[in-house]
Structures are given as C-alpha cells and as structure tokens.
C-alpha cells in the first residue's frame, strides 16, 4: 500500500434540528406514522409555494461558523430536476452555484500523533426527499413523504483525506462540532446524518488524481471506514494487476452484511439536472452584522474549550478531549470546578463516574449524578474525609440513595477521622498485635508495612486516611516507610 496514496472526499448530509420543514410548516419529527407530516407544499400539490424557514437559515449559519466557513452575503436557491417517487415536485430545491457558505475546515487527530487540517469546499442548504420502502416479494414500493422537505445542509470536503481512519476521525469531529452548537443530533441511525464517500488512489508522487468512485448507503461511521478501506484495497489490487482501466467513475452501494460494494450506476447514466434559480424564492441576504450576531450568541466552540481545559486546568489532551466530547459534559465539569472542586478530581470523577452513571441510566448527567451531590462527594475525598477507594466503591449506591454524601458516609461510619491521639493509640495497638510483622519491618522488609497499615485500617473501621496511618507507623517504629 505504501506505494499508493488514497484520496478521499466526503459529502455529508445533515438534518437541521428545526421543528418544521425547510420550505413549509409541516413538522419533520423522526419515527412518526407514514404520511402523517404532509401538507400542501410537502405533497407538491398544484399551486403550492415554498417559504424559507428562518430557523433553518440560523442553524445553517451556526454550522458554517462552527466549521470555520465563510458565510456569503448573497446566495440563492436553485431547482434540481429529476423524476423519482420520493421527490414530490419532480425537483429538489437546493443551492447550486451560489451556496450560502464556502471554505471551512475540520482539524483531526492522526493515529500516529499530531493533527491535520481537512479543508471544506462548501456547505449548502437543501430539502430532503421522502422515503421509498420496497416491499419484499411484492410488486409495489411504498412512498412515505414524512421526511420530504426536511431541512438539510450538505457539507462537502476537499479531497484531503488520505485513509479510512482519517475519514472516521473527520466524521467524529464533524459530529462534535455540529451537535455542540445545536445544529443537529447527527445520528446516522436516525438518518439525521448521512455520508457518501468519494475514493480514488494514485501512485505516490503522481500529481494527477486517479479515477474516483462514489460509495453510498453508509449507515454508521464504522461502515464508512470499512467501505473506504474495502474500496481502496480493490482499486490498489486492480492497479497492481495492470487492470486499472477497469476502475470507472461510478456510484456503488455498500452492503453492510456482505461487507462489499456493488455498482449502481456509471457516469454515462448521469442525469442533466437542469439547475436554474427558483423563481418562487427571493434571494437570501445574510449581512456580516447578522453573521457576527449569530457568532457571538454561540457557545464557546469545542476546539477552543478543549484547548482552554488543557491550559487553564493543566489537563492532559486525552482528558480535555473526553471532557469536550459533548457540551453537557464540559458544562458539568466546569460546574464542579465552580463549586470548589479541584480540577484533576473533577475531571476524573466526571469522566469515570458521572458519565458511567448517565450511560447506565440513559439519563442526562445532571439527572443521573446531580451536581450538588457530586461536588460534595469530591470535596470529601479532596479533604481526606472519605478514602478515595471507599468513595469509588460506594458511588453508585450513594447516588441511588438520594442522600447527601456526608450523611451517607457518616451513617456508614466511613468518615475518616483526623484525631491524632486516637490514631496513635490505634497504631500502637496494631504494633502490639503484630509483633512478627514489626520484626520483619525492622529487619528491612519494608513491604510488610502494608500489612500493618491494613491491620490499622481494619481496627479503625477504615476511618483513617491510609497515608496518615503510614506516617504514624513510621513515626512510632522510627523507620522510613
């Protein structure tokens, strides 16, 4: 493979999280009864007219800003013509030569370390088609127009990706950005995110691009990765065998079960879409002032927040990245800090415990692990009032109980004590009990100290901080431990 280079571009369609459709007031919820979200415009009735959903434009601009794109002051809508049962008007309203956004970029982390900037060509707005459901064994297909007219943005990358893994990372980062600013849920399973991949290969060093093939029907990020991997291997094999001419520009469908592709159509059958400006829709003007207003109303972008977590809280990159995977997580983490928790502990407890509880219960973080309780818990550990191991062990039960942590651990007699006199007495007792162990320690077996610490802890019912116990032990035995 190293003699060859893969060249990959991705086209991602993302449904905007609006209540109603792009050009009419029918709702566009997922999973409703077939043909229950249809109105005059959706059905493409004679005399129907489109009206732009202002909220869709707002979200589209947010998407552009979150991806570093340039929002055009003037853009327009065009009609794209083809006949298909899921396309009621016989044309799709899209944007052809004047999209609302050009340029942009997504920065991905490479597997071997380092980052890479993937450039975007453009983003444009358009409406979704309905669904065609093929009956098994029957002679009919069913048309469901619920989805027809749902607002979409199409995000087109430059062919900057060089591996299936990079493509995967691109999609993860794209989803993080779009979900962060409330543009979309980006759920491939629910169809709010769809991806087509354009793949070609060329010998390393060749400037000219090879013949590219488009792959569709990719239903998950992993499927995208697998399909691209498969296509690269196929194209390389053909090139090596001197059969590269068999690689023709075409569209293939990915079969997730068989893990292969099959050709759907070749370029000769490509349609003439007869694009022209939609005479029913006036131009879209988005002045710079409006773009700035939208930008300033947006939350701090995940990439910025991730970098700030590293610098402001001295967190490792991996931790910062996990804490900025989604904005509720980042908010939760910083709320803990605002409540007085030390950053490292807040990070650890958010990543390990809060997220686990939320995932187990399928509930939001603040519901599964309410902030006041988590903050109090972390502070108990920070102040040595509860041993860290104890806190971790009791975590799930604590939150299930609904009790406040101080009360909970007091009832369980697990609050660590700071009484030095009691500690001294206990340690003395342990030393008296374990003469053999003491002898081992004095004769140089320092590891045996662990057993004495354990015994002391047991005598104390776990109420002393193990580090304090060890220090007292060392003091009484006169040995450095």
């Amino acid at each position: 493979m190293s003699e060859y280079e893969a060249v990959i571009g991705l086209e991602v369609h993302c449904q905007l999280a609006t209540r109603t459709k792009m050009f009419t007031g029918a709702t566009c919820d997922f999973g409703r009864e077939p043909n229950s979200q249809v109105d005059v415009v959706t059905l493409g009735l004679p005399g129907a007219l489109p009206v732009v959903n202002g909220q869709a434009v707002e979200l589209a601009v947010r998407a552009a800003l979150s991806l570093n794109g340039t929002v055009a002051e003037h853009s327009k809508f065009d009609r794209k013509h083809y006949f298909y049962p899921d396309l009621p008007k016989g044309y799709q309203i899209s944007q052809f030569d004047e999209p609302y956004c050009t340029g942009g970029s997504i920065t991905i982390e490479l597997e071997g370390g380092g980052t890479k900037v993937i450039r975007l060509t453009r983003i444009h707005m358009e409406e979704d088609a309905g669904k065609l459901i093929h009956q098994d064994g029957g002679k009919w297909s069913e048309v469901d127009l619920n989805r027809a007219g749902t607002p979409l943005i199409e995000i087109v990358s430059d062919p900057d990706l060089r591996s299936a893994q990079e493509a995967y990372a691109y999609l993860v980062e794209l989803k993080r950005s779009l979900k962060w600013v409330g543009v979309s849920d980006c759920e491939m399973q629910e169809g709010s995110l769809r991806c087509d991949a354009n793949v070609s290969i060329r010998p390393v060093g060749q400037a000219k691009f090879g013949t590219r093939c488009e792959i569709k029907n990719l239903n998950s990020f992993r499927a995208v990765e697998a399909a691209i991997e498969h296509e690269i291997r196929q194209q390389v094999a053909l090139h090596k065998a001197g059969r590269y001419h068999e690689v023709v520009q075409c569209t293939k469908l990915w079969d997730p079960d068989l893990k292969t592709t099959k050709v759907m159509r070749t370029k000769e059958n490509a349609a003439d879409y007869r694009y022209f400006p939609d005479p029913d829709l006036p131009a879209l003007v988005i002045p710079a002032a409006r773009v700035e207003a939208i930008r300033s109303a947006m939350p701090e972008l995940p990439q910025i927040r991730e970098a700030r977590f590293q610098s402001q809280y001295a967190l490792e990159r991996a931790a910062a990245k996990e804490l900025t995977a989604e904005s509720p997580i980042a908010d939760y983490f910083e709320a803990l800090i605002a409540a007085g928790c030390p950053a490292k502990l807040a990070a650890n407890w958010t990543r390990e415990e809060a997220i686990r509880l939320a995932n187990d219960q399928h509930k939001p973080l603040t519901v599964a692990a309410p902030l006041p309780i988590m903050a109090e818990l972390i502070l108990l550990v920070a102040n040595n009032k509860v041993a860290r191991v104890v806190a971790k062990a009791e975590c799930s039960e604590l939150f299930a109980s609904g009790q406040k942590p101080e009360a909970y651990f007091t009832a369980k007699d697990q609050i660590q004590v700071q009484d030095t006199a009691a500690l001294a007495a206990l340690v003395a007792q342990a030393i008296a009990q374990e003469a053999k162990v003491v002898e081992d320690i004095r004769s140089g077996k320092l590891s045996a100290a662990g057993r004495l610490v354990g015994v002391s802890m047991k005598l104390s019912g776990g109420k002393f901080n193990p580090n304090d116990v060890k220090a007292e032990l060392a003091k009484q035995l006169g040995v450095a431990l």
Partner: protein, 95 residues
C-alpha cells in the same frame, strides 16, 4: 439544428414517452420555435445581470412554527394507487 436524437433525449429528461411520429413532428415544431427565439443573440447583454424575479423582495422567511397538515386519509385518497399507509408505485430497482 435539432435532431431526432435531441428530441428523444429531451423527451427522456421530461419523462414523455413519444412515439416515432411524435418525435418527428416535435422536431419540426421545436426547430421552428428555437429558430425564432435565436434572435436574442442579436441583443448586446454584456454586463447585464440576469433578472430572476421582478417583485424586488429579499429574505422572505417564516418562523419555525408548525402549520396545518393534510390528514393522512386525505393524502392517500388523492393517490391513484395506495394501501392503508402509503402511496404505491410499481416496485423500484434501487436508485
């Protein structure tokens, strides 16, 4: 010059099943009309912005609030072929 092939191609784009006689007739008619509209090439339009709409409005939008729907039974009743939940078409080979 419009050929029969041109006409057949257009008919395909426009989803009109024309028989040979119709193709031939259409060819002559289109050629005459296109010949007539060719005169526009005489007009100097250097630097002239194409006009898409005369009403002079921009940025017409609506708020993201649900509007009236057509009830499902009415949607289906309009269709030439239907079952209880969907509009039916002859089975489609995947696009």
């Amino acid at each position: 010059m419009i050929t029969d092939d041109n006409v057949r191609h257009l008919a395909k784009l426009a989803s009109l099943t024309l028989d040979a006689a119709a193709v031939s007739r259409m060819r002559g008619e289109l050629e005459a009309i296109v010949g007539y509209v060719e005169q526009l090439s005489q007009v100097d339009t250097t630097g002239v912005e194409p006009l898409t709409n005369v009403s002079g409005v921009v940025n017409v939008t609506r708020t993201d609030v649900p509007g009236p729907l057509i009830p499902t039974p009415t949607v289906l009743a309009l269709a030439p072929a239907r079952n209880e939940v969907a509009i039916l078409v002859p089975k489609v080979v995947e696009r």
